[in-house]
């Protein structure tokens, strides 16, 4: 069923839909697409003031004063991409009920565009981070070769989870309320605003059960030029497999009856 023509035709739909999603999120506001960048920067500014200036947190691995600032951006930007994509994916199928009831197309496109569109905003943020790192003279070019792998891993992880959440929400409406809470909890459980090394080592094994911890850790290490952690890479690989395969299989299994439940 999936062949060259299928990919070309539905890929085209995907691109059109992605454009529409990106456009519709920012048209009509004065700031336009600028909000896609301003939003994370403002969040980062707030966290920086609270944790670096008021609470005086220092990352043990990073000697410099501005280290925490870069650390925060390296973890927070990918996290915002993940959490925005997932929280928008949850209700995406229910919101696009009109389309699903009236037109025949691979409905995977709906949650997928939402996840990818958040990822695009994240990429813009990461470009700014790279510019800041370069300006600060702390850009580690050699470790950036890992970035494409992290991007692919993040996309598969988020597409899988996003599709799973989206299709389950059709059956269990409560997920629309539950997923934001789940994301909030994982934001604090994942070392984003604090470093993994600040957590007692005896708890580190728990990060294997956190689908986002490995990914965020690797992002931070790649941007800050720290040696990569094989444990994180392994747990990320396993989570990518679980979420990717699980999400796709679950979606395929529940898709045929979708029209009856919307």
């Amino acid at each position: 069923m999936i062949n060259h023509r299928w990919l070309r035709d539905w890929g085209f739909v995907f691109v059109l839909w992605l454009k529409r999603d990106l456009k519709s999120r920012y048209t009509g506001s004065f700031g336009g697409a600028l909000w896609g960048i301003l939003n994370p920067l403002m969040t980062v500014a707030v966290f920086y003031v609270v944790f670096a200036v008021v609470l005086k947190i220092r990352i043990p691995e990073l000697a410099s004063e501005s280290g925490y600032f870069y650390f925060l951006l390296a973890g927070l930007l990918p996290w915002m991409g993940i959490s925005e994509g997932l929280s928008r994916a949850v209700g995406s199928l229910v919101a696009q009920e009109q389309f699903i009831q009236k037109l025949v197309f691979p409905i995977e496109i709906i949650p997928a565009t939402v996840v990818v569109s958040s990822f695009v905003t994240q990429l813009v943020g990461l470009l700014i981070l790279l510019a800041l790192l370069a300006a600060g003279g702390v850009l580690h070019l050699s470790s950036l070769v890992w970035l494409p792998f992290l991007f692919i891993a993040q996309l598969i992880l988020c597409l899988g989870m996003g599709m799973l959440f989206a299709i389950l929400t059709v059956h269990v409406k409560d997920l629309a309320q539950l997923v934001p809470v789940f994301l909030q909890v994982f934001f604090y459980l994942t070392p984003i605003i604090y470093a993994r090394s600040m957590v007692p080592a005896k708890y580190h094994y728990l990060y294997a059960f956190n689908p986002f911890a490995g990914l965020i850790d690797l992002y931070q290490r790649v941007f800050l030029g720290l040696p990569l952690n094989p444990d994180s890479a392994l747990s990320l690989a396993i989570w990518v497999l679980i979420a990717g395969a699980g999400g796709l299989l679950m979606f395929r299994a529940l898709k045929p009856t979708l029209g009856d439940y919307l």
Binding site: V13, V104, P256
Partner: protein, 409 residues
């Protein structure tokens, strides 16, 4: 379900012993319980029960039936937006469904961007998109400048034109139309109908679902009447539509209990010098009737009473359609202005119509009691004695006007 690689047969739409059930859960928890554990915690509503319909290549197939009979479910199954509970649905070739025009249009996006996405969703490859878009623009008759504006700025007519154009510009093998041909102004309705006819003449298969029995009669060569999820009649359009119409007539007859609301008696007694006591609509057998055929003889009998003896008055009677459009009216003072009627207590006036020239529709009676000049209204009652007319001829409209075609010029 649908695929272009299958060998082309002469029956592109094949519905075999299809039933479709919708599950209802009393509370959301029941659905979760059923999802996670075994057991039945729902009630099933059967929208379709054991339906088998085959539509041949090049056929225009009509679907008729009351609201909620299951027609839309059937169309959805053919369109592929939902699957059958039991049985099989097979559809060959490219399907275009006009289930709800404009579904999926984004109000903030331009007409052009909406058309592109609709085209892509209907399977237009990128290489042919420009061609598709040109055909949409031509057919919708929207200017290039309009198409660049967000569709939220469109009038409903413009919106519908664009929607119809995007849905039909793909040249489908099977076209599904659900009540979509009544969009826009007359000019556009004609264009839509022409496009549908062009599909038919090109040998495309059309599934046409409508409450407009006139259109079904003139467009479709075969039809099915769906009633409570089952096929009541299938075959030649004329026979199926006639069977459906007579069923509707019987149903309407059951709803009209003779003598109840058909005979009008005013609830409050007016203080007018002459007032209406009762109005009844009678058929040729002098029976009160609410169901009439075109050309049937009818009479309207009005009983009035006066407080004093010898009060002069006139009576006007009009026939109205149920939207209060006055079809025809007459009054005793048009003919006998000089000699008004006089009431001594009670008096009855009857208006006879040898041929009721009304065509299909819902109508009512209006009665006016006027003074001797015909200017002042003593008492009146409008939209009383409601009746349904079933047309026995093919002409559309409200009133039958006798005519002769002169074709020898």
């Amino acid at each position: 379900m649908s695929s272009g690689d299958q060998p082309v047969s002469d029956i592109p739409v094949r519905i075999e012993q299809v039933s479709k059930g919708y599950r209802f859960y009393r509370q959301p928890m029941d659905r979760l319980r059923e999802l996670l554990f075994n057991g039945v915690h729902h009630q099933t509503h059967w929208a379709l029960k054991d339906v088998s319909i085959s539509v041949g290549r090049g056929e225009t197939f009509g679907l008729i039936g009351e609201n909620g009979a299951g027609k839309s479910t059937l169309l959805k199954l053919v369109a592929g937006t939902c699957g059958p509970t039991t049985g099989t649905v097979s559809v060959e070739g490219k399907v275009a469904a006009l289930l709800e025009l404009g579904a999926g249009f984004h109000p903030e996006e331009s007409g052009r961007d909406n058309a592109y996405l609709m085209g892509a969703l209907s399977g237009v490859p990128p290489s042919r998109m420009e061609e598709y878009y040109r055909s949409v623009a031509d057919f919708s008759e929207l200017s290039a400048e309009t198409l660049e504006r967000p569709v939220k700025t469109y009038s409903s007519g413009m919106f519908m034109r664009l929607a119809f154009a995007t849905a039909t510009a793909v040249d489908p093998d099977v076209l599904i139309i659900d009540e979509a041909l009544s969009v826009g102004d007359m000019h556009f309705q004609k264009k839509s109908l022409d496009r549908t006819m062009a599909f038919r003449d090109k040998g495309r298969t059309i599934l046409f679902c409508s409450h407009n029995l006139y259109q079904v009669r003139s467009l479709c060569n075969r039809a099915a009447w769906i009633h409570q999820g089952q096929v009541m009649a299938i075959g030649n359009t004329e026979e199926v539509v006639t069977a459906y119409e007579s069923h509707e007539r019987e149903k309407a007859a059951r709803m009209h209990v003779p003598g109840s609301q058909l005979a009008f008696k005013p609830a409050a007694v007016s203080s007018a010098p002459v007032r209406i006591r009762e109005v009844v609509l009678l058929n040729e057998d002098n029976l009160i009737s609410g169901i009439l055929d075109t050309f049937q003889p009818v009479s309207i009998r009005v009983s009035v009473e006066s407080v004093e003896v010898g009060v002069p008055f006139h009576v006007g009677i009009a026939l109205m359609r149920n939207d209060r459009e006055n079809v025809f009216g007459t009054s005793t003072h048009f003919e006998h202005a000089a000699t008004p009627l006089t009431a001594n207590g009670e008096r009855t006036v009857e208006l006879s119509l040898p041929h009721l020239n009304l065509l299909s529709g819902q109508y009512g009676v209006a009665v006016y009691v006027l003074d001797d000049t015909g200017l002042q209204v003593y008492d009146m009652a409008e939209m009383i004695c409601p009746f349904t007319v079933h047309s026995t001829c093919r002409e559309p409209g409200m009133v039958y006007i006798p005519y002769i075609w002169n074709l020898d010029h």
